[in-house]
Amino acid sequence: MGVYEAVIGLEVHAELNTDTKIFCGCPTRFGQEPNTQVCPVCLGLPGVLPVLNQAALHKALKAALALNCHINQWSRFDRKNYFYPDLPKNYQISQYDLPLAEHGYLEIEIDGKKKRVGIKRVHLEEDAGKLLHEDTGGTRDRFSMVDYNRTGVPLIEIVSEPDIRSPEEAKEYLENLKTILQYIDVSDCKMEEGSLRCDANISLRPAGSKTYGTRTELKNLNSFRAVYRALAFEIKRQSEVLDSGGAVEQETLAWDDARGVTVKLRGKEEAHDYRYFPEPDLTPLQITEEILSGIKEGMPELPQQRKDRYMRELGLSAYDATVLTRSKTLSDFLDDACRLGAEPKAAANWLMGDIMRILNAEDKGIEDTPLSPGHLVEMLSLIDDGVISGKIAKTVLEEMLFTGKTPNVIVREKGLLQISDASALRTVVEQVVKDNPKVVDDYRSGKEKALGFLVGQVMKHTKGKANPQMVNSILKEVLDG
């Protein structure tokens, strides 16, 4: 069996999160009743004309800059012609030979090693609608319905260079890309809602070779996991073809996630001729330095920058900084908490520990919960002030995450105030010592571990509310005294 190197390029479509569509004023809200977010322009009625949404252009440029691209001073829109019912004009307004931006890169990190994946181009285009295939069962009339709500939602297409060498790298590229697009607030990047879509090209070549092998194009990749699995499958499939002396066919394949295999969609000979030509209804785009410097000025901190800052300023480990910055909302939360006075490491520990555990279990983002940075800060100071223990805090946190109540309210309502009254604690300690003569003997005969049990008993009696430090010292006093 030969040793092959995989050559992978990814084509990502991201819906821009503008309020309105790219060429008309219709709203872009997801999940509305079919054909309620439409007008003559996005329906392609006779005589209508497109007008470019400047917010979409702005967001596309922002994305291109965040991906280190060169912005073309002049670019233009072209028509991509093909017939399909989800495309009302039967052409898509896209960009062809003069895209918005080119020659960028995205940094990924695999096993601690950094690598740049080239970005071939970033261009702006309109999304198509959705077909709903209805099988009406009993009757002879099978039909399809079209929902044009999505028609004209702005998209950016981000095409990577064939610089990716493994499914792991592909997944890392996508994770980083998604994080960047979310940081700069240009896309929601929800694969399950289709606001982020990915196609992949993959070919194999003998390790060390500089020429490219024949590639296949993979479609229907509906999650990052699907991208990973489909690429891994293709590497194995193409390896077997080559090992058996065969040749890989240039074709378009669909990933069947349920069966875990790729299946042929169409061959090279069935490739579309899109008959691209310049869109005469739109004037060429001129991007001035002025426009670009305005966007650069408004560019927020990017994930890599934030990660460096966390390591530098908050003293977080590379791992912690990576985990926290992967989600913009989570690290925004951390930044807000720190701004409100939280001790950064303590806040980071709570976020990475209990908070992420609960969020993962609930499959939620922190933005989906009523928890606010102010509440976290309040909880941290309750711990610092000895009002509640770290253990009680876990209970309080859970309550905060689900109800949105402030920690003070929760502590009061649930009676979770830490007992720091020395005489009250002494009474409990004396009772515990009295009830556990054997353990007390163990302790006195030098078994230090026995102390832990006694502390636990005090906590049990006080429902966890006893101040642990005070319990320790009082216990020692009673036992040693």
């Binding site: 003559p40 329906l43 392609g44 009625l45 006779p46 005589g47 209508v48 004309l49 497109p50 007008v51 470019l52 028509r79 012609n81 017939f83 019912p85 009302p88 004009k89 039967n90 052409y91 079209v146 001729d273 008959r275 691209y276 030509f277 005469p280 209804d281 739109l282 004037t283």
Partner: protein, 477 residues
């Protein structure tokens, strides 16, 4: 002469002085329609309920049926849109309504504006009011015939390769194609987007200036409409032409131009010279390639623009289709006429992989050369002159079996669309009893200058005062 035979500015004066009412004018037009429409066949759809509010008192205008009107069907002369009712008004329609101009009907046209005789209408041919056996020209033939026959006070057409000017020439009226970008195309059903422009068809030059003032100007709904200020065309028109430098285009008087047309143009040159203009011959050397370039660029754009008529969303859908592809094919086979299908095929071919460079791209380069021809000429001349069409109106059926001979009737108008510049056709005489049109061409956004030259010529001639005999019967006054 009836009221409906006067110009708009004449009846406005009469209304102002109280001699006639706007209602009488509107009724005169409706009466004329009643009387001659069965012979002229200008209209596809009548909309005679005219509102009388506004500056223009509902003075009836004929609107080409490729300009969208809310609630009134807009067919483009095609089966595929026979029952299409737009839910919105074109920007020009909004502007007409705002000024109190009444739309009396939607006029016949070559299907999707593809043709030069109105014979490519899916419904019926329109006749030339000067000779009912002849064509009115096209594609805005219905609009031109309506104005010539007194079936409307004025009209709007659209001009992609001569579709306003050539029928104006054939029908003895004034037709203006403004600079590309001067008038919003929003709501004009696209034929060839980089060439299409809406323009007025009127009985004289002053009316053309008035109507242009109403429709011109930037429109935020049309990205290709120019943010160039709109001058006062009506004021500018009256200035004289002394010292105006005029270039007579040699190529437009070459082979294929009828003697009767040529002699009218040469007489017009004398008139302008007498008015103080300096007229010299000028050459536009790439004229010979204009027709070829146009018949690649326009069909290429059309093949894409007309792709939306697929039976899915609106318009005609073939019955009994099996599956999607079959529905597409049957719908378009049955819904489009021969000429439209011919051009869709031409355009699809010109854009296809492997042919794009040789056809579409090369045609665009020719287009640049033609534009440069004009730029060079305009560095020396204020306006250029020539015939609008090489012939007078030809007989119905004479060219229908030979598309190439039909295409040749736009040989003098097409270069102007390719260059995106303005041109006006005005009556300049008769040949064999049929009107001849003089074409005056200007620099981008110099409508005021070409209208001024046209007005000066018109003011010292009587050609525009003639009305076809058809309308003279009956002796209304």
């Amino acid at each position: 002469m009836s009221l409906c035979d006067l110009t708009v500015h004449e009846v406005l004066d009469l209304i102002k002085s109280g001699e006639v009412s706007a209602k009488e004018v509107r009724e005169s037009v409706l009466a004329r329609i009643e009387k001659v429409e069965s012979r002229v066949c200008s209209y596809i759809t009548m909309t005679p309920e005219l509102d009388s509010d506004g500056a223009f008192h509902g003075l009836p205008l004929a609107l080409k049926d490729n300009i969208c009107t809310r609630g009134v069907r807009t067919t483009c002369g095609s089966r595929i849109l026979e029952h299409f009712v737009p839910p919105y008004d074109a920007t020009v329609v909004t502007r007409l309504k705002a000024q109190g101009i009444g739309i009396v009907g939607k006029t016949n046209m070559d299907e999707f504006a593809m043709g030069s005789s109105c014979e490519n209408s899916a419904f019926f041919p329109t006749r030339n009011p000067w000779d009912l056996d002849r064509v009115p020209g096209g594609s805005s033939g219905g609009s031109a015939a309506a104005v010539a026959a007194g079936e409307a006070m004025w009209a709007l057409g659209s001009d992609t390769g001569g579709s306003v000017r050539q029928p104006a020439s054939f029908c003895g009226v004034v037709g203006l194609k403004p600079t590309y970008g001067r008038v919003s195309r929003y709501g004009l059903v696209a034929f060839a987007s980089s060439l299409d422009q809406i323009g007025p068809i009127t009985r004289d030059v002053l009316d053309s200036a008035i109507l242009l003032s109403v429709i011109a100007g930037h429109d935020p709904l049309d990205s290709t409409s120019a943010p160039v200020p709109v001058p006062d065309y009506v004021q500018d028109v009256r200035r004289d032409v002394k010292g105006l430098k005029v270039g007579l285009v040699r190529e437009y008087l070459g082979q294929g131009t009828e003697d009767g047309v040529r002699s009218c143009i040469l007489k017009a040159v004398e008139v302008l010279t007498d008015l103080g203009a300096h007229v010299e011959e000028v050459s536009l050397p790439h004229t010979a390639y204009a027709l070829d370039a146009y018949y690649l660029i326009a069909p290429a754009e059309a093949s894409s623009n007309l792709a939306r008529y697929d039976g899915v969303k609106y318009g005609y859908r073939a019955e009994g289709a099996v599956g999607l592809l079959d529905m597409y094919q049957r719908t378009r086979r049955e819904g489009f006429g021969e000429e439209v299908k011919r051009r869709i095929m031409l355009g699809t071919y010109a854009l296809s992989s492997g042919y794009y460079d040789a056809y579409y791209l090369r045609a665009q380069k020719v287009r640049t050369l033609i534009r440069m021809d004009f730029q060079k000429a305009f560095s020396e001349y204020d306006v250029l002159l020539g015939p609008t069409a090489p012939t007078v109106a030809f007989r119905a059926g004479e060219r229908t079996s030979d598309p190439l001979s039909m295409y040749l009737s736009d040989v003098c108008t097409i270069p102007i669309n390719l260059a995106g510049i303005p041109a006006v056709s005005i009556p300049c005489g008769f040949s064999g009893g049929l009107p001849v049109g003089l074409q005056i061409i200007g620099k981008p956004f110099s409508e005021a200058i070409i209208l001024r030259a046209a007005y000066a010529f018109e003011s010292s001639t009587d050609h525009h005062k003639n009305r076809p005999a058809l309308t003279g019967e009956g002796g209304e006054a």
